[in-house]
Symmetry: C2
Subunit: 403 residues, 2 copies
């Protein structure tokens, strides 16, 4: 019974991954300048030529990961596109800053001129992911060193001195532990250490630090995951302090599960499932219309983000990974039934049967509100990463059942 169901999931997920890859291969490549178009309409038309650096890096990473670890994607056109994307990033992503630090831009023109630089670490994070994964495929040691150098810069900004980010120090702007930061660094540690003992040694302490920082977001006696806390793990005042982002907490959940598995840490596994997966799922699931809310306020006030009640594709992607990984680590049937619940909502609402790929932005009621397939924050990343990880997990589960 379960095996048949798992096989059915795998079949659909595999088909969907193929369709999503084909969509981006067909529409997103900029053959003239390299890199990728990411503003892609419902039917594949490019509606804006700007190149968002997060999405450039993510697409390079995803192409390379598929190429490296899934036989059917070991195709020259995928590797070629990833190389052109990597070259575009290496050539253009770095932007001059007033402080003189080497920052990555947030957004570039089609031909690579910087349009905007954010005073955060995320463009650099996706640069590291891209370069490291591409180096794994090509064996380019200089590129790998470039990734490590940028990673060390990131760790410096986060843990030693943020002044290079260019944010002015303001008297009312008290320091915040924003969950995105240790999550991203943990994701990069995971990327850099795979199969490399010297990197495992180099980044082991950083990884542990990230986990500790993430765990500080368990608040209110374990009843809520809050996105922003003080650096010593207390609740912050106001909306910022009460903000919940269920999809983000679920993503943190599976990052922690991966780490727990590597370390054989049963306590961390338990914490990841109970606090970072179950708690935000129950807080975030819309009992009336189904799907996960984007933002919530822990005291039940209306969030101030206009999109708080919308159903976005990526929290559902993260929930699918989180529950399937939790199930594959524990064999707990309840976790598989939650996966099914998310799966049913996701696959009946987000994929576009007509043109392929997924819609990204639904109303609370589940209707498509923004119909593009790619935009400034939606590229070739959450959907294929989810399908890729879920397919791998299902392979493992079905293999176990066979044996």
């Amino acid at each position: 019974m379960t095996a048949a169901k798992l096989e059915q999931y795998r079949e659909r997920i595999r088909t969907e991954l193929d369709r999503v890859v084909e969509f981006w291969l067909k529409y997103s490549h900029d053959k003239q300048y390299g890199g990728f178009f990411t503003c892609i309409a419902e039917d594949g038309k490019i509606y804006d030529e700007l190149k968002y650096v997060w999405l450039q890096g993510r697409q390079v990473w995803m192409y390379c990961r598929l190429y490296r670890t899934m036989e059917r994607f070991r195709r020259p056109e995928i590797l070629d596109a990833a190389k052109l994307g990597g070259a575009f990033l290496q050539k253009f992503a770095r932007a001059p800053t007033p402080g003189g630090t080497e920052k990555c831009a947030f957004c570039l023109t089609r031909d690579g001129r910087a349009v905007k630089v954010q005073r955060t670490i995320f463009s650099e994070c996706f640069y590291v992911m891209a370069m490291d994964e591409l180096a794994r495929v090509t064996g380019d040691k200089d590129m790998q060193a470039d990734a490590v150098k940028m990673m060390d810069q990131l760790v410096h900004w986060v843990r030693v001195d943020p002044s290079g980010l260019g944010r002015p120090q303001l008297p009312g702007d008290s320091p915040v532990n924003s969950m995105a930061v240790p999550m991203m660094l943990l994701c990069l540690v995971d990327q850099l250490i795979e199969g490399r003992s010297e990197m495992m040694e180099k980044y082991s302490e950083v990884g542990d630090w990230c986990v500790k920082q993430i765990l500080q977001h368990v608040q209110r006696d374990g009843a809520a995951i809050l996105e922003n806390v003080t650096p010593d793990g207390k609740e912050l005042p106001g909306c910022q302090g009460r903000q919940q982002n269920p999809g983000h907490a679920l993503e943190a959940g599976w990052f922690l599960l991966q780490y727990a598995k590597q370390k054989g840490d049963a306590q961390l596994q338990k914490e990841a499932i109970e606090k970072f997966i179950e708690v935000p799922f129950h807080a975030g699931w819309d009992k009336e219309h189904g799907g996960l809310f984007y933002f919530l306020d822990a005291d039940g006030y209306c969030p101030t983000q206009l999109e708080w009640s919308m159903k976005l594709w990526w929290p559902h992607c993260e929930a699918l990974i989180a529950y399937l990984m939790a199930y594959s680590q524990t064999n707990e049937p309840l976790l598989l039934s939650r996966f099914s619940q998310v799966y049913d909502y996701t696959f009946s609402h987000f994929p576009d049967p007509e043109h392929g790929e997924w819609f990204g932005y639904l109303s609370q009621q589940g209707n498509v509100v923004l119909d593009f397939k790619g935009g400034p924050f939606k590229g070739f990343f959450h959907v294929p990463r989810c399908l890729y990880i879920c397919e791998k997990l299902l392979d493992g589960l079905l293999e176990k059942q066979d044996s």
Copy 2:
């Protein structure tokens, strides 16, 4: 027939203005630190204590304008609150910047410490509005000089050298004429010159320049008002270039109508009505559910702003002012019927009969999605300004009919 209808509008608008003023008098005053709370829930509860400088300035301005020009609001508690708000701003709004320029913060803690500084001109604009209007009420010449000094700084940033705003010069970030900038400056010119011949002389050229800059946004042979154009009035590429914000264009429309009336410029009046009021109204009105969309793309692509299809309170406020002012200047019945159309949607959707004030954010279908009365961008401004101006216009129209 028309007179009875106009009287009916005036009655409702007057009652509504009274209720809105009472709401903010009751809930928004910070008696401990001065200034105003603006994050106010549906029922009046303060859900965040941060003080947004735009909204502090706007509330001071609105209180003083009501105090100065409407007999029934000449109440000591209104003046006292405005003075405390003005003192709070003068003491705390200015924040240190890396470049050493005097910038106003975007957001302050309850006790006035800067939390965030934007690299735009708008906090300063609302500072000027507040200080000038408060000075008109109190007769404080130093305060008026402070407003003029800040205004001159603004004009310098916009027309001579923007480097003091702190935005890095990036090679792909080409200069843009964003409609908000000349609109704001024109609004300030209007504020500063009222009844002062020396100011009229000083800012006359700036006012003309603003009008010219605004008129550059008429694009596509007059078929669209685009939010962002090149400095020489050409369409920009991509989403940024195609962006339409109907409510904003309608607001520009009545700014231009005011200016045209002052100057006796019939051609500008015609342009304001035909291009800045009728064109965005037709582009922006939702034929299916009623109400004005927030953003649209001139080529019909889906805008990338997640809130594009929502119905916000302020575009409807601006549309009410625009059509009633256009009607009062022309006596064209069509313009009054458009006012009625917007009025019917607005008054049946936004006001909260239970707790008072207006909801700000509805779904495309017209349901309340965010239920707070005040937030980071919604304060004591668009609603009372709309009701105030409409009441004055109706007074004028009814007086004309009587005589």
